[in-house]
Symmetry: C2
């Protein structure tokens, strides 16, 4: 059922667009990289920009300290009887390196070919900004919001939201709401509006392999000392078989197998594996052959080595046996898996498989369980109507391979319905060089959000 | 048979020591890192310092261009009937990184606890300098040299001497000699003078594994795209078995097995595996269990991964599937192996084992065959007498696990006897942080070299 959008809203949105993009550019300009301790001041400065914007809209605001990076909090509750919507997003971003692969500076928003380029343009500064633009539209055009609104924008999502859970418990009162909406996901494809109802979890590790106390001459000592790089390579290589199955005992424990209906729903979605491989620049897709790529991305756990380093990386040759080698790994979890058991399974595997002649350390930092969210709640149906009105087509239900720690926290602490209504596109290159956000998604998304607030008031 | 050293020589050496160390400090101060293109001017500047010193000694000199880094050439032929000795060494050095692990700056010679610290102090600036000091001693104390002397100090040894072979062919006349002496090796242990009669060869490779055209979000794409780090880890891990045997087909082709006499000679040398492990900071030595550590170091080929890198290496977590991963490898060869066949064996292995979903490139740069040098030539016996006179004990015959490209070139082009008479010690940390050279080895080594020239004149 398509419902008409508010023409006055669209007129206002068009008038304000340039100013909004300029304001979003100020957010992008602040390198709020939560993973980098050296950027802590930038993260805090970005929080202040969000607060500034909420104040402009007449929200009560607060900077909530978490023990890590702060949360920008805003509240506009004008209708005691109306439902309360909690809007969640994050203002922190992934590191921009390798910066050399960006066409333009990652921290300078640039519009090219109908897309806004910059770190955080899609994930998630741009999408947080859309909510604030939609709220502004309601307030300026009609002078009021249709529902009570609480805005929570955190600064630690990209590092696994280590303090969000405890802050949520501590600030129960301030965060109390009937529905949460999270715009940190993407459409299945351009032109296919989507609601996400399944989010993967995340566990991360770092493995250090220590060999000799200093780098050794590989001629003098080659053949007598275990090589830390080779020991690490062996550990990493032993974690999967050649088909991409993870062979760490206990890793798949609790994983729910897909049923026939789920597989049919996924199979009905448009998906072109060859085109995806071409777009990504790989010869072919790769992974557990008994599942389709979409099944693997959304409903199968994965393990990836995100970084490795050791020894000489400069020009030419340096004939050494290095003193150490290190690797970073993360796993994506699916519903049914216990993050702690997965964490411990890998640690036990690494300790058991550690080859002789070296000393192996493994540490884990942060874990987030997977979540399956509501599919047929009235708030989800309100979101579906809003998407259909703005994009001209009823949304599909999809999963996301990514992890959104706060979705797990909301599920655990509040048990409220969560609407995962994001406006990214699959080629936004989030977490990568040349991250971008489509301007048309930005425009129609603001329309959809403004309409969603109205529809929610009617539920 | 011990012969008395010349007391006047020792007196002169003592008087000159401070000035010599100051002069050597000037050599160390020039970061002549041949592997680093950015250091090319420094390499050339170091060549000029060697030339300056040869001119001071009254040698005819020339800077020989090679197409790469130049050779410092000096000639002092005063006795038409006497044998001609070619002294070979190198003024280039290994990179100093990781510089943070040096106690004092790698390019500032510092004397502590009877050792000279600095990159090149032992390998090989210090040992080249000893020859020039010994020649100076002859010239200043007696006014003449006992043999005709040609000095060849190159600037590309640490990168495999890529132009030395062809320069040797082109400059046949200038390089013509009866005997070559090379001081770029070490004693088996402090107090055990040694002559090296076996030198391992070297082949190097770099493997690049290309995945997606840019880094990908590991949540969105995890499970669908092959991970270049994991593909590289798998390739590296598959090159050896758990015991350190190289399982690349053809790698061991031509390797000569050790006979009973050789094994007995090696077994007679003092060697303490537990102490070596402790000194190197490893839990235990590691390698082919059917050979002793010394056999593995000198007479068995090895393969080492010298460096690996890919993906995110910064603080915290970055959830990506990286666009590429790279590794540097080198093999040490022994007599009987053909470097080209070894090179091709690894390349063929990598191509055959390359996993699906990624693109693998492998390149090889430079190769040097192993060499077994003369053990019973009169020049070798002259060297043995000189070592016994200076160090009070007859030398042992040992191998070296290192590679000295020019030894292979001299063997191929001139077929003259080569005396590998080096004065390093096993704990000099060459190619590593805190490289050092023992002052007592420096002093007695100069005595030994000065005496060697005399003994050579008597052969």
């Amino acid at each position: 059922m398509a419902t008409a959008l508010d023409r006055d809203f669209q007129t206002y949105r068009t008038e304000r667009e340039t100013a909004w993009i300029d304001e979003l550019a100020r957010w992008i300009a602040v390198p709020s990289v939560s993973a980098d301790p050296a950027r802590a001041d930038d993260v805090r400065a970005c929080c202040a920009l969000v607060i500034e914007r909420l104040r402009d809209l007449g929200f009560e605001t607060a900077i909530l300290e978490t023990g890590g990076h702060p949360i920008a909090y805003g509240r506009h509750h004008a209708h005691p009887g109306a439902p309360t919507l909690l809007i969640y997003g994050h203002y922190d971003v992934q590191p921009a390196d390798p910066e050399a692969l960006w066409t333009t500076s990652p921290f300078a928003l640039r519009v090219r070919d109908g897309k806004m380029y910059g770190r955080g343009s899609a994930d998630d500064k741009g999408q947080v900004f859309m909510h604030l633009a939609a709220l502004e539209t309601h307030l300026r055009v009609r002078g009021r919001l249709p529902v009570n609104v609480t805005v929570v924008v955190e600064g630690e999502e990209e590092i696994g939201s280590p303090h969000f859970d405890q802050t949520l418990v501590r600030e129960r009162e301030r965060f109390a709401a009937d529905v949460a909406v999270i715009s940190d996901t993407a459409f299945h494809a351009a032109g296919i509006p989507s609601l996400t109802t399944s989010v993967r979890g995340l566990v991360s590790w770092e493995i250090a392999v220590h060999g000799p106390s200093g780098d050794l001459h590989s001629g003098y000592f080659g053949g007598t000392v275990a090589n830390p790089i080779e020991a690490l390579a062996r550990l990493v290589a032993q974690m999967k078989d050649a088909h991409g199955h993870i062979v760490i005992p206990g890793f798949y424990e609790g994983v729910r197998e897909l049923d026939r209906d789920q597989r049919a729903e996924i199979a009905a979605l448009p998906f072109d594996a060859e085109r995806m491989a071409r777009d990504l620049g790989v010869p072919a897709l790769h992974g557990e052959p008994e599942y389709t790529p979409l099944e693997r991305m959304w409903y199968r756990p994965t393990l990836e080595c995100n970084g490795i380093w050791g020894g000489y990386q400069g020009p030419g040759t340096k004939t050494i046996i290095p003193a150490f080698a290190r690797a970073k790994l993360t796993a994506r979890l699916v519903a049914g898996q216990d993050p702690h058991r997965v964490r411990d399974a890998l640690i036990a595997f690494v300790r058991r498989m550690a080859p002789p002649g070296v000393r192996v350390e493994v540490e884990s930092a942060g874990d987030v369980p997977a979540v399956a969210t509501a599919r047929d709640h009235p708030a989800v149906r309100a979101a579906a109507r809003a998407l259909e009105a703005a994009f001209g087509r009823a949304p599909v239900m999809i999963g996301t391979g990514g992890s959104i720690g706060p979705v797990a926290s909301f599920a655990r602490v509040f048990e409220i319905p969560q609407v995962l209504m994001g406006f990214g596109l699959p080629d936004d290159a989030i977490h990568a060089p040349d991250e971008r956000f489509d301007l048309d998604q930005f425009r129609r998304g603001i329309d959809a959000l403004a309409f969603f607030y109205d529809e929610l008031a009617r539920t």
